[in-house]
Assembly symmetry: C2
Homo-oligomer: 313 residues x 2
């Protein structure tokens, strides 16, 4: 038996046929066409899924379920995607539409949640009793896994860790609030802090690395310059690690999962980031002498979206 | 069959014999003697438990389990209380010592967690799939209940909601951190804010209500003056509600429980507080058009400690 996973994003949709252990057997992809009507978008996804399934050598009768990870929020019971700005979807009946093409159980969840599930099935958090996944990218997404199952809350609006308030009346957020965690812990936050520093310290090595154009700043430039010992980049890096350490300590003090997994673009900084964060977190947790969550970097990379979606149930 | 619950506090220990539905059949209490050696403290508790059991008309063979709620942290697997400052306990083998007197299963958990469990068994959150309990008192305690069972995390250090950081570099906390949630959402926070306001606005009605001695300020004075329309008290009240609203929205955005229950001394303000908080929370949650947690005031009062401890398993 196999499962089909769809990693739905604003630029492309990755589709995979996955076995029961979470191994990808065959992959396909289509370009996202947000200009098309919703029904046609779904028809294209289903056609690619069937094509990928055929190439995998498996038959439709072998498909246990189809899952989709979307950068937005959906309702578990109805299969309706309530809101997914990158796809221009507002209250679209994804499950109902998809089953017109492939009549199998269809599950939908948030992309960060799905990536967290993938890691807990076959990645760095496999075998743990509970995990919290943080995607550190343009924003900060969250996924909570308890006993191998996704926890999206009683109403499906949970695990939005990026929009927890970390600073009262802090930085304005895209959501309309102020001081959301993602304003301090995302790649966007690193870039903002680096640009602020370049205004005061234009002699930083980061200036040359972004070709004297702070608009070209990215998180990798900050990490690379910090690794090379650039004092201004190190200042940004340390400040970011401090924020992320406090955010992670909030997850520990509230939920105390067995493991906290860092994914998303920022996590590509690897051990340089991980070592610093592991040193920072103990400063903020309440019971400093007791064991608490392991902190690890995600291991599945971009395949997590397909694998986790396929494993939804 | 019956259960015995111990509500362990720094001034007194309340003990109850409780039936399987969480009803208190008989009560007893002793004064806390932190001057005594640990073994003697436990001996006194066990003696009172046996006395209360005898008065309830039940026999030792009918006791399913004994539970203790302590204002501190304990290890579920060993029954050791790791740290309980009000009792002067550091790494004391509570279960082992207690079973020398009454050889039944002994469970221990945090007092806020235990109160949350009580509410979910026979109080305002009974029958819910998940709940988060907040005690708003001198500090802020937290209890997480999932599927009728206590969630204290993978290492037992979770549900310390009062020590989540709500403001980066904010008010100094007794735990050594800065900006902990309890610095903004406890009775202590209300008192601090009221005293600050009295310095600037000594003409507030609150001044007379604390007999011109701000050292006598308490949360009830602030709520009473606010209800009477005192502008300075209303300012403190609104600021407190704003902080509490943001704290509660963090619980929704992270964990999305079915219900959030407010207990502790501050919750005695009842609907005056509840109505204001219910109006405030939607400003900060991410998905404003979707259902989210009901917010309610705890219903069991001071019995919650006994009932919840008895229901530990």
């Amino acid at each position: 038996m196999v499962r089909i996973g769809l990693d739905v994003g604003g630029t492309g949709i990755q589709i995979g046929v996955v076995d029961e252990e979470g191994r990808i057997l065959e992959k396909g992809s289509i370009v996202t066409r947000i200009d098309l009507p919703f029904a046609e978008q779904v028809a294209q996804m289903a056609a690619c899924a069937l094509d990928t399934l055929a190439r995998s050598g498996h038959k439709l009768e072998e498909v246990v379920s189809i899952g989709a990870g979307v950068p937005g929020i959906s309702q578990r019971d109805t299969g309706v995607v309530v809101y997914c700005p990158n796809m221009n979807w507002v209250h679209v009946p994804f499950r109902e539409e998809f089953r017109k093409h492939i009549d199998r159980p269809v599950f939908i969840d948030n992309d960060a949640t799905v990536a967290g599930l993938a890691e807990s099935v076959t990645g760095v958090s496999a075998g743990t009793s509970s995990s919290v996944f943080l995607t550190l990218g343009t924003g900060v997404g969250g996924g909570i896994i308890i006993g191998g199952k996704v926890w999206s809350g009683a109403h499906g609006v949970g695990s939005e860790i990026g929009h927890m308030i970390l600073e009262l009346d802090g930085e304005p957020c895209t959501c309309g609030n102020h001081g959301c965690l993602e304003r301090y812990c995302s790649a966007t936050a690193i870039i903002r802090m680096a640009r602020e520093q370049l205004k005061v310290h234009p002699g930083s090595a980061m200036m040359a690395m972004c070709h004297s154009d702070p608009a070209k700043m990215n998180a990798k430039i900050v990490f690379d310059a910090a690794k090379d010992g650039d004092e201004v980049a190190l200042k940004v890096f340390r400040r970011y690690v401090r924020y992320l350490g406090q955010a992670i300590s909030n997850v520990v003090n509230f939920f105390d999962p067995e493991i906290i997994v860092l994914g998303g673009g920022v996590s590509k900084a690897g051990s340089f980031l991980l070592d610093a964060v592991r040193a920072e977190v103990p400063k903020y947790i309440l019971y400093k002498e007791l064991p608490f969550a392991r902190i690890e970097i995600a291991s599945l990379g971009s395949d997590a979206g397909i694998i986790g979606a396929a494993m939804l149930q």
